[in-house]
């Protein structure tokens, strides 16, 4: 492939892994909270 013709733009600096791990933890905690809220929603309207 003619890759020489492609303009390689300067890539933005990547964030450190430690920052990402905090984000992943936030995703997991949020998911647990969301599932718990769904469970509470289901319990509240079923009883």
């Amino acid at each position: 492939m003619n890759t020489e013709n492609i303009n390689h733009k300067e890539k933005p600096e990547e964030l450190p892994d430690s920052w990402w791990y905090r984000v992943y933890l936030a995703v997991i905690i949020t998911t647990i909270i969301v599932i718990s809220l769904l469970w509470a929603f289901s319990q509240y309207f079923s009883n």
Binding site: M1, K11, P12, E14, V27, T31, V34, W39, S42, F45
Partner: protein, 600 residues
Amino acid sequence: MKFLDWAVVVAYLAYVIWDGIRMTKNSGSAEGYFLANRSLPWWAVGLSVMATQMSAITLVGTTGQAYSDGMRFIQFYYGLPLAMVILCITVVPFFYRANVFTAYEYLEKRFDLKTRTLTSFFFLMSRGLGVGVIIAAPAVILSIVLGWSEIATIFAIGLTTTFYTMVGGVQAVTWTDVKQMVIIFFGLSICLFIIISNFPAGVGLTDGLHLAGSVGKLTTIETSFDLTEKYTIWSGTIAALFLFLSYFGCDQSQVQRFLTAKSVAQGRTSLLMSAFLKIPMQFMILLIGVLVFVFYQFQMPPMIFNQVEADKAANIKPAEYQAIEKNYKEIFASREQAAINLTKANKQEDNSAIEVAKKDYVRTNDEFQKGRKEITKFVAITNENCTKEEIEQDKCRVNDVNYVFPMFVIQNMPMGVIGLIIAAIFAAAMSSIAAELNALATASTIDFYKRHFKKDGTDKEYVFFGRIATFIWGMFACVVAIFATNLGSLIEVVNTFGSYFYGSLLGVFVLAIVVKRARSRGAFFGLLFGIASVAIVGGYPWLSAKWLEFTGRNDLWNIVQNLGIEYLFKIEFLWFNVIGCLVTVIAGYLISLTVSEDSK
């Protein structure tokens, strides 16, 4: 549908084509056409990831499922955020930094050409047929709802999508996905608002939810560990985790989304966007289905949502049909009264009255469901939709779940909103189809044309081939769709066909990224072992049934019974992903131990 509705649908289709043509100016180079020059922002990629996953059948099927079965289906998505996190840590940086066009290209760098070619081939096989089904399923429903012929509907969806994908490449796919997601969200939000405002006077949202909750429609967690049960928290968090890892991490239609992002960070953020939004979005879609159920507590729903089947049965046996209709009206009236009583009791907060009213409502709802079951059976038998065996085993039913939402919209939404929702269904179908076609064209061009036939071609040649491949795959999908609509059961077969490969493909990537000791021979044969194991678990019951049909002997199933392993062959298809992945990894690793070094 009124003129305004048609105008909305036609305007949507015309806009999508025009938007695709606009994108051609950025699609001259191969990297521009297939990867958007790796220049897209995370939010566009994230919306595209979600749009690709949400097909029309997800939209109408999920609402219909919530109507009949409640919210249980939401558990299917509980494993998705974790899958996204794992993918952000593993495949996103791997693929992005490897500078690949396809996921399978990476496998050649890690293993060898034959592993790359085999995985890409399996992708083309499963997705090529799958995209036909993605067109066929909504086409069948929309053709009935809109009164078009099936073939016209298939080509309206298939040709429009093929055209803008062919012309604009991945940029057209992504940017139209963004707009399509906006249409879907907008349409669904309006729909939600109108359903609630159409509840009878004195019945609010919480009253409706109490009604739905009292008959188990709001169950969001099922804890029983049963491999033969489709939706439990375990199948959602374990089996579906494997499915999502495979789908988002190894399926070119999804991998290509995050490869178009500006950087690894933007690629990761696009997946995490999906991790945050998917469960709430699915909740909203399921809630619409549940609220449609509530709406039909106070307004009589059609006996059969598939109007064509209902009319057919009414014409064949008019007297019986009328008698059934009369009975249906009676059981509906008693359920309606019970629903009113329960709502009143809830408002008065009188616990003993609530208890009595709830029991009565549950009983009348059960009677109503039983009555509807009988109707679906009567219609299916009258229209000769079932085999003798199905009738004998009491499995003969008209399945009209997928018609619930479109029929509800057509019959109850105001002018203009109907057109908007139909456009949203078209949008959901087209966003998935476009991404699939684009991925099929990319894999055909990069993994086959470029790798095997034209190594030193120019960008222009690859883009040209990519466009031809998009067109051919688009036409192939339309032809598959035409056959799939005529062979109803084939749809299910082809749908589960993908799950035969997903787990094993994931296994190969696990070997590539996680297992340092893995060798190309191990990966290649591990993949074959994985697919064979799933084929045995999934295909054996079918094979033994066919054997019984042709020979009149139950030999094959007797072997299983004698070994006491029947449960193994009743496993729900979500678990195939776990089986395929584990067998591939274990077999691949063991075979790799017999090889010292790869000779490339």
